[in-house]
């Protein structure tokens, strides 16, 4: 019998059975059951001929209405099932993102002295300097004589030297590279040379082997003012542009005038502390205008060219930068030290 109740009943049944459906297959079966060619809705149509024309019209419209409603319900369910399946597929790949990553190589470290050397060279290269190197086993001539430090010169006391024989030694500074480069090349020159140097000295701040960076510039009309400009630029680049820099007269046989350069203490910011011996200043490099003697040694025309040179100790800057209090730590190769930096 066709009745409003019967139609309602079918709708209710459909809604309740949709609730239980989880897969596409179940969904297709149920859809056939209600909306298929032999489904419940089709079955209702079979009863139509038995009705009056009026009733036929009325129930025809109702059945159609039911069909549309059910189709909508089924479509909604299908999208719901598909969405659930997609979510499930994603969840199959769920991981604990906090597990440590798989690392097939540990991470090593560049030595702190290398890192600082490269930082320094980087700044000078950005200013237009080029990198050169020289030998560590050096002739007395290049290490001393050509640098205006003849035999029996008191300045030889400033650098206690390791000798190989009468004429050969381990270079005590990177300055011989100045002579070697000037012998080979003509001005204009802007050169920096990093390298190992050696002095007979050993305690917590002195090592028999350490690293220096030498730099020099030769051209027409190079002045002390340029020396101040370039080194101030470097120190600001390395330590920060807020740091004060001061130049104070000093002595090196191979420069004239000579200067030591101090920077405001990086630890106490100039207030005075143990590191700067209460002075508020840290001595960071030595420099000066290249002594005319050096030009005469390499055959440059003194009246035409002038230049400046500077030298700095990499260990000292590194110790300041990383708060390292014993220079010997650099050469022990202890992984526990290296991995901290």
């Amino acid at each position: 019998m066709l009745s409003k109740e019967a139609l309602e009943e079918i709708k209710k049944e459909a809604i309740s059975s949709l609730k239980e459906i989880t897969t596409e297959k179940e969904w297709a079966d149920k859809k056939a059951h209600f909306l298929g060619k032999k489904g419940r809705v089709q079955e209702l149509l079979k009863h139509l001929p038995q009705l009056s024309i009026e009733e036929r019209k009325e129930f025809g419209a109702r059945i159609n209405d039911l069909k549309v409603q059910l189709e909508e319900l089924f479509e909604d369910k299908l999208s719901q099932i598909k969405a659930e399946q997609k979510t499930k597929r994603l969840l199959e790949k769920k991981v604990d993102i906090t597990l440590p990553g798989k690392r097939f190589f540990k991470t090593g470290r560049v030595h702190p002295l290398t890192r600082v050397t490269h930082e320094i060279l980087d700044i000078f290269q950005s200013l237009g300097f080029e990198v050169e190197e020289g030998p560590e086993i050096e002739l007395d001539y290049y290490n001393f004589e050509a640098l205006n430090i003849p035999k029996e010169h008191p300045a030889r006391d400033m650098q206690d030297t390791f000798y190989i024989d009468e004429s050969m030694l381990l270079r005590t500074h990177t300055s011989p590279v100045q002579i070697r480069v000037m012998e080979k090349k003509k001005p204009p020159l802007m050169i920096v040379c990093p390298g190992k140097v050696y002095r007979r000295d050993s305690d917590v701040t002195h090592s028999p082997m350490f690293h220096q960076i030498e730099g020099f510039m030769v051209d027409k009309n190079v002045s002390f003012s340029h020396l101040k400009g370039v080194l101030t630029e470097f120190l600001h680049g390395f330590f920060g542009s807020e740091k004060n820099v001061r130049f104070r007269p000093s002595y090196f046989p191979f420069t004239e005038p000579s200067a030591e350069v101090d920077i405001e203490c990086v630890v106490c910011e100039g207030k005075g502390c143990r590191i700067c011996k209460q002075t508020g200043w840290l001595e960071v490099l030595g420099c000066g205008m290249i002594h005319p003697y050096l030009f005469s040694v390499v055959g440059y025309d003194n009246s035409l060219f002038s230049g400046f040179a500077f030298g700095l100790g990499v260990e000292r800057l590194t110790m300041l930068k990383y708060a390292i209090d014993d220079i010997r730590l650099f050469y022990e190769g202890n992984i526990s030290f290296l991995e901290q930096l």
Binding site: E152, S225, H226, T232, E256
Partner: protein, 803 residues
């Protein structure tokens, strides 16, 4: 150089505070390293009154004293022979830190002692003493000794770092001159009046080598009473780090610290024939110096001699044979100028560095030579009652020529890059004692005799600039010619290190010198026996030889880490090795730049995703292959190592590395014997690579784009069974040689050994990849290729195929 502020004020009025003065000196080139408050170390030294002296119950030579220091009465045990009731004495209280030691409350043979009664030696004033100090009766009991008894201790001492060029400033006069130039206050000192004569009855001076001794002066002081120096002199010497010896010696030292001129006093009666000869030492000549040591002289040494023998080593130390003693009546005082390098050579050779030689080495003021002698004689008169005539015998065969420098103001202002500075140039040079004659574009400058360091125009620039503390020179950047260059060295060095760091490498830096025994320990001594570079004067007896290989250095780093329980790591170093290159004529030291690697223990440890993996030949080789490939795009080749050339490696697990057909180093397993020497409990792999070779390949990197095929590739697997010891490289090369241009790549995909294929055999599976640039390959042609390769493998290597 220690400079007493009180002493300095003898020469110049100082209105600045000590720290201001220190700052100004520092900024003018005389770095004041420290300002020492001299009295500070005497704050626990007070005046005491000995109220009672009794014998020590248990020691004959000791006395027990009751000493009043004002409110308190102290019990003090004293061993001095001269202690007596009623004396005012110096009491060092417990807590006092004297140069001779720290004072504590002690018990001396069951008697408590609350301090010490001091002698001058205890306080550091004299080198020796016979008893405790007995003070003037007027000083107040309980006062600190610097308040009244030793008022000169109430002084500040500047520790000034005088650079080697400024020998003139190794004296109070010298520093006063600088202060005068800086503060623009005049120097105050009395000019002396004396006669210089070439000859006198009392001495006959002869200089054999005027180059080594251009000036020698002598004075005679009669009836000098040898004894104690006055307190002010003792304290001033103490302030400058010296000790009082006797009034005569002290006066020579005092005048040296005052003027910078070292002096020497001879006992006149001991000089034979009134003769002073300045000459070079004779071969085999010896002299016993004041310190009692016999010195063998060589003809390079300059000596002062009388008619028969050397009586002093010139400028270095006097001889015992003419020493001034208590019995001395008449003194011959020497003041001279010696050639600096000669003095330095002798002082160095004999290792007798002295205050005198230190000054002679740096050059004393040749014009001031007689003035210093006169000043000393005057003191010998006032202090010791000696008599002298205002006559100085002056033997001056090589007259000083004043240095004349042409100075161009225009050039100076360009050189310094500061125009304004020139306004003050003249004033500054005059304040430093230079004389100036101005011409239109140039000045003639005459340098004062005490400034031998100023010889060229640039030296004058420095004098002008430094008195402005360099602050007047503005910092400016030069205009430079810009250049487009590859940042060659640095760029490669950084990249290379970054590669190894990515593979877990820790960079280390090792000393270039090693211990000889490390060579034996690492079995390297025979290999380099006659090619080692030795250091003549090593720091210790151990670090004597420049390393001929990085191996000993790396092994000692491995050892260090194993001792600290770090076993699993990879370290690398970019450094040099040093050895003698055998040349036809002579052995020349060579230095070769290296990349050295050492691998210890595990590449990675057990983790939640893997079991542990030790470093082995193949993963270390893989790291090297990968780095070289990336940097150079050139494959590495390997050859077996000979035990002879690599005694420190196990040849079964080691190779020599070739890149671009050049020997580029080695990789290998540490020899078990070496491992045993170091007591290593892990396998260690070592490698060395030629830095410069890899660098040059990096900068000449050869890569070309050769297109790629649009057509699919086809794979074929081929499995062969061969003898275990057949190198895989041989199979690869046969495969490549047999394939046509269609063979694109070959990979070894599997390898196994086992009973299934028989003992001493291994099975290898290769994946061959074929591809054509212009067509899709059909099975037939690929099979043909494959067949050809298989046939060649049989023909050339007699391989088997699995059944």
């Amino acid at each position: 150089m220690l400079i007493s502020l009180k002493w300095l004020k003898d020469f110049i009025l100082i209105e600045e505070s000590p720290s201001e003065l220190a700052f100004k000196l520092t900024m003018a080139g005389f770095e004041v390293e420290e300002i020492i408050d001299l009295k500070q170390s005497f704050n626990d030294c007070v005046v005491g009154l000995v109220t009672e002296v009794s014998d020590h119950p248990k020691a004959d030579k000791l006395k027990v004293c009751k000493v009043s220091i004002g409110e308190n009465l102290l019990n003090i045990v004293c061993g001095a022979p001269n202690v007596a009731k009623g004396q005012k004495v110096v009491v060092a209280l417990p807590g006092a830190k004297l140069v001779t030691g720290n004072i504590e409350k002690t018990v001396i043979r069951d008697v408590e002692s609350y301090g010490m009664l001091c002698s001058e030696k205890d306080l550091g004033f004299t080198a020796s003493s016979t008893g405790i100090i007995v003070l003037n009766d007027k000083v107040n009991v309980g006062e600190k000794i610097w308040e009244e008894a030793y008022r000169d201790l109430d002084d500040l001492v500047l520790n000034i770092n005088v650079t080697p060029n400024r020998g003139d400033c190794l004296s109070h006069l010298g520093i006063a001159r600088e202060v005068s130039a800086i503060t623009r206050k005049p120097l105050q000192y009395e000019s002396s009046v004396f006669n210089l004569v070439e000859k006198a009855d009392f001495v006959d001076i002869e200089i054999y080598d005027p180059d080594l001794c251009p000036r020698y002066t002598a004075m005679l002081i009669r009836n000098a009473g040898i004894g104690d120096a006055p307190d002010y002199m003792k304290i001033r010497l103490f302030a400058c780090g010296m000790r009082s010896i006797s009034n005569i010696v002290d006066i020579t030292n005092y005048v040296m610290l005052d003027t910078g001129q070292p002096l020497h006093a001879f006992d006149y009666e001991k000089i034979r024939d009134k003769k002073i000869i300045v000459r070079k030492a004779k071969p085999g000549e010896t002299i016993i110096t004041l310190d009692g040591k016999e010195r063998e002289l060589i003809p390079d040494d300059l000596v002062i001699a009388d008619s028969e023998r050397a009586i002093a080593i010139a400028g270095v130390m006097g001889g015992l044979n003419t020493e001034v003693t208590e019995k001395t009546k008449t003194i011959l005082l020497e003041s001279a100028y010696f050639y600096p390098p000669s003095i330095r050579k002798t002082a160095k050779r004999l290792s007798i560095p002295s205050e005198a030689s230190y000054r002679f080495e740096r050059g004393v003021d040749i014009s001031g030579v007689p003035n210093a002698a006169f000043k000393a004689s005057s003191l010998m008169h006032s202090v010791c009652g000696g008599r002298f005539e205002n006559t100085i015998v002056d033997c001056y065969p090589k007259k000083h020529r004043r240095t004349n420098i042409k100075f161009f103001p225009e050039r100076c202002s360009v050189y310094l890059g500061a125009k304004d500075i020139m306004k003050r140039a003249e004033e500054r040079l005059l304040s430093l004692g230079f004389e100036i004659t101005k011409k239109s574009f140039e000045w003639d400058i005459i340098v004062p005799s005490y400034r031998p360091d100023v010889t060229i125009e640039e030296d004058v620039y420095e004098e002008i600039a430094r008195l402005g503390f360099y602050e007047e020179i503005p910092p400016t950047l030069p205009s430079v010619k810009i250049k487009g260059v590859r940042r060659n060295n640095n760029d490669f060095a950084e990249k290379l290190r970054a590669k190894f760091v990515n593979f877990g490498g820790f960079e280390v830096i090792n000393y270039s010198f090693i211990r000889q025994k490390e060579l034996e320990k690492s079995r390297l001594s025979d290999l380099y026996a006659d090619r080692l570079v030795y250091i003549k004067n090593p720091l210790t007896d151990e670090l004597t030889v420049m390393r001929p290989s990085s191996v000993p250095s790396l092994l000692s780093v491995v050892e260090t880490n194993h001792k600290r329980n770090n076993f699993d790591f990879f370290i690398f170093e970019v450094g040099k090795k040093y050895f003698l290159k055998k040349d036809e004529s002579k052995n020349k030291p060579e230095e070769i730049k290296l990349i050295s690697l050492a691998f210890s223990g595990n590449l990675y440890e057990k983790s939640w995703y893997t079991t542990e993996e030790p470093y082995d030949f193949f993963n270390t080789k893989g790291i090297i292959e990968s780095v070289i490939d990336d940097l150079t795009n050139v494959p590495i080749e390997v050859k077996p190592v000979s035990a002879e050339n690599y005694p420190f490696l196990n040849p079964a697990s080691s190779c020599e590395i070739f890149i671009d057909n050049k020997n580029a180093g080695f990789l290998g397993l540490l020899h078990p014997d070496v491992s045993e020497n170091y007591e290593f409990r892990r396998d260690i792999y070592l490698a060395e690579l030629d830095y410069d070779l890899i660098k040059s390949l990096y900068f000449n990197r050869r890569s070309y784009y050769y297109g790629f095929s649009k057509f699919p590739s086809v794979d074929r697997d081929i499995t062969v069974i061969v003898n275990e010891d057949l190198p895989v490289a041989r199979i690869f090369s046969v495969i490549f040689a047999s394939g046509t241009e269609l063979l694109k790549n070959v990979r070894l995909t599997d390898m196994f050994k086992g009973e299934k294929i028989g003992a001493g055999r291994k099975s290898l599976t290769f994946k061959l990849i074929f591809q054509s640039m212009d067509r899709t390959l059909n099975d037939e042609e690929v099979n043909r290729e494959n067949q050809q390769i298989a046939e060649n493998l049989i023909k050339e290597l007699a391989v088997d195929f699995p059944k």
